[in-house]
Amino acid sequence: MPLTLPDAGPRVTALVRHNTALMLREPGPVISRLVQPLVLITLMHPLYAAALAGQGAQAGTIQVVTGMLVMFSLLALSVVGGGIMSERSWRTWDRLRATQARAAELLVAKAAPALALLIALQAELIAFGVVAFGLRVSDPGLVAAAMVSWAIALLGLGMMLGAILRSQSELSVSYDIGGLLFSALGGALIPPGELPGWAAAIAPASPGYWAMGALRAALRGQAAATFRDAAVLAAIAVVACALAAWRMSRTSPRSRLL
């Protein structure tokens, strides 16, 4: 019998359509992540504007918009990792692995709707900052580069956690604590210059630190700083995605979630 393997494109398309439908059928977490930061930005803008007035008219607006963007996109990791964890708990991941699709195809198709969500969340908050608080975007291309690099890093981190952790509760703890910790250390809540000395020293260990740096620099039109921090985010994404792919391609059907 001649062996003909269908090409990857239609498979990935079918999987992306399927994963998008799954995500939209449980819209609660998505809506929550899209709406909550708008409320917080609105309420906290006056506070940040007053606190950072000495650093220029835009400083407070940039801080509150980028800070909430980083914090809520970190919390949106629950959507990414939750998707992987659900596949494992439903045992559908092994079912998909038993098809002709490569592990990379499965991961790409799982990632695509989540990547769209993460970019949409960031675009929404930047647009809200522009419309509601006069946020200036010096170079939209730079901002797009920063947003995409942060979205890819988040995607890798979310998939890595979804692949490695053993239960939904472990996942929730990781996102809740990790999201807040990385946000705070990254300077999302308090500007990096105002962090305690010990926190400032370990801040670069947080992906949020590099995301804040890339986004702030992009909004100010500082290309070199934007690309430097975006490169760090891309490196984080590569390592995390590689770990996730390695783990998911070796998931044993006998490995049980808690």
Partner: protein, 253 residues
């Protein structure tokens, strides 16, 4: 040459040897009922052939394709229904069938026709638009089997497809399996229910502690002997009857 030729498969989990040199071949149009007590190696064998786990030793050929060296190519030749029901609770029956049909390489009209056909054969037409999380156990079983049967493949691996199924579901599934075999598919059918194998006129292969200890037509093997072999030693070696532990050489046919 058989559609499936597996030989000398060895797989261990920790100190437990799940497959201990298991050898099994299935010819086109043949249904092999793989029976054995829990832990005898039935599901591990299916998972190895499906490429979900790698054995430490042995060889698997599917239509001449080395399934260990080229697992994706081998999977393109097989329809696989795992033992545990694996469905998306929020996705409908029709969405499952379309997804797995597309992953099997079906497109356009061929995909639509295959979805309609298997839904009708498995009596899923009435619930095609319902999320599987809302289905009865029998409907879920039929949906799971339908995802494996939607594309016609030279090899079918059905791992305890009727566990927990109602008589109607069982009858539907057995009819489709018999039809596929009649059309030339080689079928590995693991089960604990010998009457199903009799109904399918299947060859019986008895797995015991990771090996095939007897193989033959159900009519040639006495039911008592099959039952005694099934009740043989488990994976921990707790022997109840090791009368046929010469393994694959003990072909009762």
């Amino acid at each position: 040459m058989g559609v499936l030729e597996a030989s000398g498969l060895v797989k261990t989990y920790g100190r437990q040897r799940a497959l201990d040199g298991l050898t099994l071949g299935v010819a086109a149009g043949e249904i092999v009922g793989l029976v054995g007590r829990n832990g005898a190696g039935k599901t591990t064998f299916v998972e190895v052939v499906a490429g979900l786990i790698r054995p430490e030793a042995g060889r698997v050929l599917v239509c001449g394709v080395d399934a260990l060296a080229r697992p994706r190519a081998a999977r393109a030749l097989a329809g696989i229904a795992p033992q545990e029901t694996a469905l998306y609770p929020a996705a409908t029956v029709a969405e499952h069938l379309r997804l797995f049909g597309a992953l099997a390489g079906l497109r356009g009209t061929a995909l639509r026709r295959a979805v309609d056909d298997i839904a009708e054969r498995m009596d899923l037409g009435g619930c095609a638009g319902q999320p599987t999380g809302l289905l009865s156990g029998g409907q879920r079983k039929r949906t799971q089997a339908a995802t494996a049967l939607i594309a016609e493949r030279p090899l079918l691996l059905l791992d305890e497809p009727t566990v927990g199924a109602d008589p109607a579901t069982r009858a539907r599934l057995l009819a489709v399996v018999a039809d596929r075999a009649a059309a030339g598919a080689a079928i590995v059918y693991t089960t604990h229910y010998l009457p199903e194998l009799a109904e399918l006129a299947a060859t019986v292969a008895v797995a015991q502690a990771g090996r095939i200890v007897a193989r033959g037509a159900l009519g040639d093997l006495s039911l008592d002997k099959v039952n005694a072999l099934i009740a043989g030693p488990g994976p921990d070696g707790t022997a109840q009857d090791r009368g046929a532990e010469d393994g694959n050489a003990a072909d009762a046919a």
